[in-house]
Amino acid sequence: MIDPLDFYGTRLSSRLLLGTAQYPSPAILAEAVRGSGAGIVTVSLRRESGALRSGQDFWQFIRGLGARILPNTAGCHSVKEAVTTAQMAREVFGIGWIKLEVIGEADTLQPDVFGLVEAARILSADGFEVFPYTTEDLVVAERLVEAGCRVLMPWGAPIGSGRGLNNVFGLRAMRAHFPGIPLVVDAGIGTPSQAAAAMELGYDAVLLNTAVAKAGDPALMARAFAMAIEAGRLAFRADPMEPRDMAVPSTPVLGKALLA
């Protein structure tokens, strides 16, 4: 069944975005990406260690995976840092997509939403296609859209926490408020059922890293997530029934034998 996703004019058949950090080995990362069919992998930029040249090797490796690359500005705490990192990423990776992170709080890794909007504006004006890691705050989201963002990535829960969807109400409100903007739950998802729940809310995709990388069997978990995301998407499109408080018999009452 064809149900493509569109990020800035690029059509994708997979609704799973996979981070590349913390895997036990490159081979297991490759297996997770290929086995799950993840359409996009996120990558970062870090200081190149002169003698080892691990970055160059990693770049060769990641290009071989066949997924699209989404560079991030992880670890940036200021607008200047994030903008400069994005510029450097565009040159190295040769792509204008950027997962924009401007971290505002060290314990929760919550975005600095004020810096995020400012950086998004600067980068959009410079031709970047920005994927902002944000909260589910509607006012911030409006500002991000005004700043040029055509995709929004609200958190489910703090990065790496595995707590799932902390604010289902807020995420549902966001979905209703931005019917035409692709929405990705980024961060905090721990299990496939939580990813399915995000998709059932009508989210367009899910971005995962720790939940897969830190699983006992990352490749198997990546597949489990891929299936959950597909199931959740199908469920959303199938228009689930409304829950109700009282029982309703599913077997017809009409024609019931009188045996009492």
Partner: protein
């Protein structure tokens, strides 16, 4: 000349950013560079002259989430 390269003070004789990458034997196509906190494009590395105490950042692709 002492330069701060990725946070470490090093003594390198390299007049320009391009020369520095060559001295460090880094593949110029795979790294991104900044001098004193400002991004320097690949095309500008030849004409970016370095001075004593400059802070150079040389970044490369890494795992990320």
């Amino acid at each position: 000349m002492t330069l701060i390269i990725n946070g470490e003070a090093r003594d390198v004789a390299a007049p320009s950013l391009a020369a520095l990458l060559e001295a460090l034997e880094l593949d110029a196509a795979v790294v991104a560079t900044a001098v004193n906190g400002r991004f320097v494009r690949r095309a500008d590395r030849m004409v970016t002259l370095l001075a004593e105490g400059d802070a150079i950042e040389i970044l490369a692709p890494m795992q990320g989430g």
